[in-house]
């Protein structure tokens, strides 16, 4: 009996460790972003794409207009499709689109915009992808609808027709 107890308890200990590690993985705090909605806009210093100026994010989203924060990159294929939708959305006066240029080079990004048009009011240059993490993003493309410094809704992946309609409803 005593002999059976030892292996059994050791296996039990390892199972406990496994479960704890497993749970630990679920809420990895560093690089697993949470879906943040109805949260304040994170206050971080960012570099602007055109001027290279460092500004705080709160300064960017400070009016009562609606903002669409769009994470994009020149190397991201779905971003190209989405770009057409963005160009369409920008016709709304009530909406400003802010871009986060994610893990990209300025040269490639500029070419991309020259080719497909520039819907962005401002672009945040996020060379190493850390800014996107502050926002709780998973990757590109991804967008956040923001009003009064609050994140209302998050869109993962490229926009669909439905999400576009939804945004239009929100803005009204």
């Amino acid at each position: 009996m005593k002999n059976k107890l030892l292996p059994f308890s050791i296996v039990l200990i390892f199972i406990t460790i496994f479960i704890i590690f497993y749970k630990g993985l679920q809420d990895t705090n560093l690089y697993t972003p949470e879906v943040k909605t109805n949260y304040e806009v994170p206050s971080v210093s960012v570099e602007l794409f055109d001027s290279g100026k460092i500004v705080n994010t709160l300064e960017i989203f400070n009016t009562d207009k609606f903002y669409l924060l769009n994470i994009w990159s020149s190397w991201c294929v779905p971003c190209r499709q989405e770009h057409l939708i963005l160009m369409d959305l920008i016709k709304n006066d009530n909406l400003k689109i802010i871009g986060i240029n994610y893990k990209d080079t300025k040269k490639n990004a500029k070419k991309f915009l020259e080719e497909l048009g520039n819907p962005y009011d401002k672009i945040i240059f996020d060379n190493d992808g850390t800014n996107a993490i502050e926002w709780g993003a998973y990757g590109v493309p991804e967008s956040f609808l923001i009003n009064k410094n609050k994140i209302i809704k998050k869109y993962i992946g490229p926009f669909s027709k439905e999400s576009m309609e939804e945004i239009k409803l929100f803005i009204k």
Binding site: L6, Y31, T105
Partner: protein, 626 residues
């Protein structure tokens, strides 16, 4: 493009041959007269395929083929040629491919070098090793394929993190991996030997080689990482008790203990359970190192790319291996009861066992310090970080008996012993205590603990030093390693006791002066290289003896990715290092200057080299005797 395709298919083929090898081994195991020649050729083929795949990745890096996602994420056309190659394993995908390369290489060497071992044992070892290899193949292909495409093809890559662009760090991963992965052979072999119940003296002397070689690589790998941290991270320390460092220290502790157990097992058929459990834990700790670093479960100063999906895979894989080995251990292992009773308290094996327990204690301190924050976070969502004070408090006091036993243990005989030449032992102890009182008296606030520590380290130092003269070539390997260890502890102690630091803000042309040191910030100059620009500060430092030194630390601004690093300037002499580093302060015209005098830095590195040299001597010696 072409290379990515070739590399990718080689990986799939390698995985396929892994499965074929398992099938062949099972077939061969049932009818084990001769080792199937096909097994050897397929093992070679598998290794060859991984080499091809690895070379393809290297070539993609060299040619800056940005259609490959790994290259795109980690390379840049302006990067120097050397770092294009080193960039191959400077990232997650490439480093895993390197793991696989070493795994397949080692099993090939194992099969070639063990012709005089029992066939069944060789086949079983191959089988266990193939399970590990297949696991890594699937991990690589499924979650971190180094040959993913990007389309449209970017014209430029994102560049390698500048702090990784460094010669020491370029060779640090391969060396460390040789150590880590070497432990996989020990793991497979111990499982095979346990299953067949042949954990014996003969087996011990055969596996000793493998343990030694991976121990040497692990020691050197840790050393290189530590040297890199010293001059690149710009803090002037060499060990930070950072989780990433701890995960390399833990297998080292387990492996060192294992090595000593194998030595005992070789002489006398005891400690078999120790050997089995330690072999398993060494490899499990190496794997959990990969898990902890790669999954992002830990917060660390140098966290690498991480991804929870990868973490989950390694976690499941790791625990399957642990459960497999636990099953084998409890099911097949039979302890030999006869030999256990014959322990005499004063003997070499008792000393080794006592120190093994100390090493297990150190290991558990490091283990707890590393994973406790995770447990706490999961169970109560509190976030804490465990720092150096925790480790120092728990480890340092126990170093004293550890060092003393390390000094006296080798003097004892196997089985039963009396202490010979007691007069020498005692007089050396008195001399050590006396000397350390002299050294510590004027300097340190913690007089008592420092005296005790230094005297025990000095004691080991003197005893091993004396042995070089009276014993000559007998036990040379052990003596060199223990001597190196005493030197290491002494250097670390002196280093922490006598280090000096000045932190100040200086403008160009200004002078800092205190009673001992004068620092003149003479000028700044600029330099432009292919992949970075740099600002160089020119300093003149004068110490109390009037000795003048020119130091020029650098601030580098890399263009891809756009990151600033500060490169310390270090003047190394035999007795001390002068270390200076500057940092820009935002919107100010002055620089933050840190100047440190660190005694015995060089000796810390040298003593670790000496320790591994001890291992090398033991490795070579055995060959020579055969």
């Amino acid at each position: 493009m072409l290379f990515s395709v070739i590399g990718n298919y080689s990986l799939f083929l390698g995985l396929f041959f892994g499965l074929v090898l398992i099938y062949l081994s099972v077939k061969n195991f049932k009818n084990p007269k001769l080792l199937d020649t096909k097994i050897l050729s397929f093992t070679f083929l598998q290794f060859f395929l991984v080499v091809i795949s690895f070379l393809c990745l290297v070539l993609s890096f060299v040619l800056s083929d940005f259609s490959n996602e790994t290259v795109f994420n980690n390379s840049h056309t302006t990067k120097p040629f050397f770092y294009k190659i080193a960039g191959t394993w400077g990232n997650h995908e490439g480093s895993l491919l390197l793991w696989l390369l070493v795994l397949t290489l080692f099993i090939l060497i194992f099969l070639i070098r063990t012709k005089n071992q029992p066939i069944k044992y060789r086949i079983l070892t191959l089988m266990f090793q193939q399970i590990i290899i297949i696991g890594f193949f699937i991990f690589l292909i499924k979650t971190s394929n180094p040959f993913n495409y990007i389309y449209p093809i970017p014209t430029e890559g994102l560049g390698l993190n500048p702090i990784l662009q460094d010669p020491a760090l370029a060779i640090h991963p391969p060396i460390l991996y040789l150590g880590y992965v070497g432990s996989s052979i020990i793991f497979s072999s111990v499982l095979a030997a346990t299953t067949l119940n042949i954990v014996s003296q003969k087996w011990a002397s055969h596996i000793k080689k493998w343990a030694l070689s991976s121990w040497i690589f692990l020691t050197l790998g840790i050393l290189l990482g530590s040297i890199w941290a010293y001059y690149e991270l710009g803090w002037g320390g060499f060990w930070f008790w950072d989780p990433v460092e701890n995960v390399s220290l833990m297998p080292w502790l387990a492996l060192t203990t294992l090595l000593h157990c194998i030595l005992v097992l070789e002489k006398k058929l005891i400690l078999t359970s120790w050997v089995i459990i330690l072999s398993i834990s060494t490899f499990a700790l190496s794997m959990s190192g990969t898990f902890l670093v790669r999954s992002g479960i830990l917060n660390s100063v140098h966290t690498f790319a991480n991804d929870p999906e990868r973490g989950l895979f390694i976690l499941i894989f790791l625990f399957s291996l642990i459960f497999l080995s636990l099953f084998i251990f409890f099911f097949f292992h039979k302890t030999n009861k006869n030999n256990l009773s014959s322990f005499f308290w004063l003997s070499k094996e008792t000393a080794i066992i006592v120190n093994n327990w100390f090493m297990m204690y150190f290991l558990s301190v490091v283990l707890i310090g590393t994973i406790y924050p995770i447990f706490l976070d999961v169970l109560s969502s509190q976030k804490i970080s465990v720092g150096p004070p925790f480790y120092h408090k728990l480890i340092i006091p126990f170093l004293v008996p550890f060092l003393l036993i390390m000094a006296i243990g080798p003097k004892l005989k196997w089985i039963k012993s009396n202490l010979d030449d007691k007069i020498y032992l005692i007089s050396l102890l008195i001399i050590s205590i006396f000397l350390s009182i002299l050294i510590v008296k004027n300097f340190s606030p913690n007089f008592l603990i420092n005296t005790i520590l230094i005297s025990s380290a000095l004691y080991l130092f003197f005893i091993t030093l004396r042995d070089f003269f009276i014993k000559g070539f007998k036990n040379l390997a052990q003596n060199i390693a223990h001597f190196g260890f005493s030197l290491l502890i002494l250097s670390i102690l002196f280093n922490s006791l006598f280090s000096n630091e000045i932190i100040t803000n200086l403008r160009v042309g200004e002078i800092f002066q205190n009673t001992k040191t004068k620092i003149v910030f003479k000028s700044i100059s600029q330099k432009k290289e292919k992949n970075y620009r740099s600002i160089i500060g020119n300093f003149i430092v004068q110490d109390s003896k009037g000795k003048i030194e020119n130091l020029s630390p650098e601030l580098r601004i890399y263009n891809q990715p756009n990151i600033a690093t500060s490169e310390a300037d270090i003047k190394t002499t035999l007795l001390s290092d002068k270390f200076i580093v500057i940092n820009m302060v935002q919107n100010q015209d002055f620089f933050n200057v840190r100047y440190q005098v660190k005694p015995f830095m060089l000796w810390i590195w040298l003593s670790v080299i000496l320790i591994s040299f001890g291992g090398l001597v033991s490795f070579v010696k055995k060959d020579y005797e055969k």
